[in-house]
Assembly symmetry: C2
Homo-oligomer: 207 residues x 2
C-alpha cells in the first residue's frame, strides 16, 4: 500500500512515527535560534540546523529559501516566546518584568539584532519583512498591554501610548545601535522611573 | 617678493584674494552638506563640491581621503550648527525648540542618517568614527544642558540625565530606524510631555 500521501496519526508509532509538522517546524526554529545566539549568523546553516533539530535537510529546504530566512524567522520566534507581556494588576511591575527580559535578550543576542536592523537601512525587502514580522507586531502587543493599564486608571488618559513604546523599548534600541552608555536592567528601571514619576520636581507648577 | 608663505589678509584683494583656509574648508563642508541633503550620498562628488564651493578639486583631495569622508564630516558639521541648545530659563521650552530642530533635520536628511547608522552596525571603523565624532559629543552637550536645569531645580535631583537622552533623541532614532509611526514635531512634543508630566495619574500613590 502506498502510504506517502496519507499522514500518519501523531501517536501511531512512538519514537519512530512521523512527527507532527508543527513540532518539526518548531524544533528547526529552536535549533536555528540556539545556533544564532551561540555562533552568530554564520552558525546557521541547513546542515547544522538539520543535525541539531533531528530533521532532514530536505525538510528545511522545503520551508525556507535560505539559511538567512530561517535565521530571521527563528530569531523573531524566540523574541515572541520570551517577550510575552505579563498581566498582573500592576503595570509598572509588568513593564519591569518584560523590559528586563527584553534587555537580557538584546544583550544575549549580541550583534545579531543590530546587524539585522543595520542591514534593513539599505535593503528595502528586509526592511519590509522586519516591519511586518517584528516592529508592528511588537508595538501592537505593547500598546494593547498599556491600553489595559490606561483603562484601569494606572496611566493618565491623555497619554499617547505609541509614544511610550519609543521611550521604553526604543530607548533600549538606541543604546544598542548608537552605543555609548550601558544597556542593562538598571537602565530599564530608570526608563520606567523617569516615565512614571516624571522629571518635574514634586510641587513644581509652572504658570 | 615671494609671498607664498605669507597668508593674505582676507580683504586684501576682494574677489581675487586667497580665502582663509578656515573659510574654504567651511565652504566645502557647506556645499557637501547641501548636496548630501538634496541628492543623497551619490550627489557628493569632489567635482560637484568643488564647483558649488568655488574651490579646487586639489584642495578637496588634500583634506579628505574620499567623498564619503567629506560627506560624513559635512553632515555632522550641519548637525552641530543646527542643534545648538538654547539656554533660556525654561528647560521645557528649550528642549522643545531643540527637539523640533532635530526632528526637522532628521526628516530633511531623509535616509542619509539611517544609512550611516545602518552601515556602522557591520563596519567597526565607521562605528568608532560615529561614536567619537557624533554620538558622544551630542550626548555630552545634551547632558550639560540638562544638568543646568537640574541645578536650577527644574528637573528632579534623583533623575539620571543620561537616561533622558535615550528617551528624547533616542526615541526619535527609534522611529527613524524602525519606522512604524510618524516622526514629526507633534511626536517630539509628546515625548517631552510624557517625560516631564509622568504617566501616573494625578493624586495616584501606590503603597
Amino acid at each position: 500500500m502506498e502510504r506517502a500521501d496519507i499522514p500518519a496519526p501523531p501517536a501511531l508509532k512512538p519514537g519512530r512515527g512521523r512527527r507532527r509538522t508543527e513540532d518539526v517546524r518548531r524544533a528547526a526554529l529552536s535549533a536555528a535560534a540556539e545556533l544564532l545566539l551561540s555562533e552568530g549568523m554564520p552558525g546557521v546553516t541547513f546542515a547544522k540546523v538539520a543535525t541539531h533539530a533531528g530533521v532532514s535537510k530536505m525538510t528545511l529546504y522545503k520551508w525556507w529559501s535560505s539559511p538567512g530566512s530561517l535565521a530571521f524567522e527563528a530569531y523573531f520566534t524566540v523574541f515572541e516566546d520570551t517577550l510575552a507581556f505579563p498581566q498582573t494588576d500592576d503595570i509598572r511591575r509588568d513593564l519591569t518584568t518584560q523590559l528586563h527580559a527584553f534587555v537580557d535578550l538584546l544583550c544575549r543576542s549580541g550583534t545579531v539584532m543590530a546587524e539585522i536592523i543595520g542591514a534593513a537601512q539599505s535593503d528595502s525587502d528586509l526592511a519590509a519583512a522586519l516591519s511586518t514580522q517584528y516592529v508592528r507586531k511588537r508595538r501592537r502587543l505593547a500598546v494593547e498591554r498599556l491600553a489595559l493599564a490606561q483603562q484601569s486608571g494606572q496611566i493618565r488618559q491623555d497619554v499617547d501610548l505609541e509614544t511610550i513604546v519609543d521611550q521604553l523599548w526604543g530607548a533600549c534600541y538606541h543604546r544598542l545601535l548608537l552605543p555609548a552608555e550601558p544597556l542593562d536592567t538598571d537602565f530599564a528601571d530608570r526608563l520606567i522611573a523617569n516615565l512614571f514619576t516624571g522629571l518635574t520636581p514634586p510641587g513644581e507648577h509652572r504658570p
